[in-house]
Amino acid sequence: MAARIRLLELQLLVLPALLGIVGLLTVYLSGTGTTRWTWADIWVSLAFMGLVLGTSVWLSLIGFSGDQVLFPLVAMLSGLGLLLSQRLQPVLRDDPGWATLAQRQLIYLALSFGLLWGTLTFLRGLEWLRRYKYTAAIIGLGLILVTMIFGIEIQGARLWLDLGVVTVQPGELVKVLLVIFLAAYLDDYRDLIATGYRLGPLTLPPLPYLLPMLIMWGMSILVVVLQRDLGNALLLFGIFLAMLYIATGRVAYVLAGLLTFALAVYVALHLFSHVGVRIQVWLNPWSDPLQAGFQPIQADYAFAHGHIFGTGLGFGHPEFIPVVASDYAFAAIGEELGLLGTVAVLGLYLLLVTRGMLIALQARDSFVRLLAAGLTVVLGLQTLIILAGNVRLLPLTGITLPFISAGGSSLLTNFLIVGLLLKASESVGERR
């Protein structure tokens, strides 16, 4: 392939670069009152910028013809995440010894970029993935089961596998595997599922073809029960419903699904006290201000303190919120960048979703279309659930904020999704 300059992408990358430089400047100004930087202060930012620019140049060199907006969006969001970890690092002091918070985040980002390059280099199209739909489903189920049995509990949710060196969240990968399976399955049986059987005047749902779906539904309820994780259950089920709707266009399925899910949650509420506590704390954190309600109360204080323009990076006190780097990254943004900052971040995610769906719309192959749409839904729904939890639109769940929250597993997975989306967009380019 001949090299071609990705000019739009390069132009858009100016924004994350500016964010990185100005952000770092204010963080250091607020802390020390000086901008005299040493190499140790800025190598993390420079390395990140190098990764981003290198990736874009490399894409130009190999003549990659895919989407040019997606990557700058991701660079912006992950740059903001890195900036946040640089800002929180001096006040959080949760140093495992081998690297600081920002350095760890940079290492995860480097690995994620590696994954992105690998995806773009070695995958030849995406159509072949459909052949492995049952493999994907089985691996996904296996990962869920393994986590349930061997997983360790952190903050009341059993989502982590301890591999000795690192702890990973297999649940992150399950989402991608689920989308691959659903895309392939729905593409194969779409028409049958959409129409159903006719029995005289009645239209019956095509039960045998819905069965794999119902298994999925059961699994996600099981996740609530066994992993104590409402957020992931909602996410898995939401992906399932959204893809079912995209493939069939049947609103009835969505409504029926939502109704049964609500019913199941209602039952879970009465069977399991921890779910009830979550709801209670969501509706009124002041009912238990010293224990379960402490975190949401502190997050509320942080948001309220930010007001319209925020305190400025480095000038607030996000360290008062427990687990700010993962669960409440958005509250830290709210305090220091204000309502303008939070709405801007909201806008970035909405652009990401729109762009992802545009790639899906323009793809040629119907499986790739479904795959890209599903992956976009994964990103959007994750974002929506955690943000809604942060602003108390929904009960808080342990889902991470894509690209911004600290954490390796989710970063790797989300970059894998971006890689797949870029790959899907490349087939668009070839059509023209």
């Binding site: 009124n284 303190h305 769906m357 929506l384 639109l393």
Partner: protein, 548 residues
Amino acid sequence: MSWFIRTAALVAATAIVAYGVATTEDRTDPRWLALLLMLALLWGIALWPSLGRQVRTMDRTMVHVVAAFGVGFLLVGAQLVRVQALDRERIQSRIYSTGTEVVADPRRQALEEESQRGRILASDGTVIAETQMGDDGRPRRVYPFGPAAYLAGYYSPALYGATNLELSYDAALSGRSEARRLREWVDGILNRPTPGYDIVLTIDPELQSQADRLLGGRPGGIVVLDAHTGAVLAMASAPTFDPNQLSVGTTASEEELTAARTYWESLQQSNDGRLVLRPTQGRYPPGSTFKTITLAGALESGLATLDKVYRDEGALTVDSRVIIEQNRPDPNRVSYTLEEGYGYSLNVVFAQLGLELGASRLTEAAQRFGFGEPIPFDLPVAPSALSVSPEHLTSPAGLAETSFGQGQLLVTPLQMALVTAAVVNDGQIAVPRLVDRIQTPAGEVVDQRQPETWRRAMSADTAAQIERAMRWSVEQGYASGAQIPGAIVGGKTGTAEVGDRPPHAWFIGFAGREEPQYVVAVVVENAGSGSEVALPIGKALLEAALQR
């Protein structure tokens, strides 16, 4: 969908947001959540993409999913606007406390907020209260000017809240004012701390020191006013408390907290009303100073003139009660004009006058001076009362003794100062003012208080008559000790009987160069006769005021 339906949905959505924000307190109020559901529906209608029938299923559904995400993100945005802009003050001020454990916004307790609390200054800039940074880097509220410290009150956010000016002007001191809303709002948005405003008092620090010194720790209260403007020049109270020992901030150490608690306990145990501001909250029988009001009632109703002659034979029997006259200058003289009766403070004369006047007209006269109403003032006030039980005045004996200042009367020194002020201010009472202006730390005036009239207590003519009587009392009567060479002085002493204990000593008076200007009211509890104890204090203060 037509543009009309979309517009209607948007308008309805906006109305729902406004209604919800106005009627719900919290973002997770179930009613607000229900409104959000409706909002999602309306936004969905407004944003729903209109796609033609020829669009393929999967294209259409994908666009629908994006629209649904848009609505979801808008809902997050609605919650964000509430938490970051609309509900923020409510959220930030919410506190939970069990007594040992407190959940509050730690940011509010950040040092800079307290260190920027405004100062309280005397009229010449003498600092009465300010926040200083300690050597340990922690702010402390200090009250360097002892004689006026209790007027400032204490500011003790960690333990006892605030009192007096620290309480009544808390908004201005912490940087909020009516006049500069916009500026403060902009500061809030830009996250700039608005420095607290300084409040400048009308207090003259030299007069205040002198008043405090003259009281000398004896229980009692003193008020010195400018009769025409209502400006309080001095206001002394004793015994009192040291706010320096109570003012512990949220960053106070454990020792400071313990010391403050110990001091608070000692205040409670001393049981001598150290936290009561006697000039405005102390209520005393006024003794003969009250004759001023009886006189005003009589003159105002046309019942008597200053020249009307009354008999005083040394005793008067009302019902079964005998009023013994001890104040006659000459035991052989039995007839006195009303002016002489006032100047010699003859109880028998005023008992007769009161009986003539009757309960309802006496009550009306007192009410016109503000009895029974809280005086509008910058510090907490207690209303003065003509009697504890309303029936007291219905008996002739009760009416008679009330008329010369005994009975069940309970009056604050500030009230008596205002009575005197009315006399020299043509019958009008100016609103007493302790705060002259509110200004920025740089001295830019934000709010200048202007003199205002509180009420008309009597006609200008009556006021002139009483002024004459009060001046006669100083020139020829029992208040002659108050004479100041080269100045117009008027006054009235009072010796209020209080059961078995020594009487309260009272003095009210005025002085001026060309015309009366300054007014004083002094009470010293259980200290003896008014002319011996209270009058010298009042005279010294009037003299000092004339030399300002």
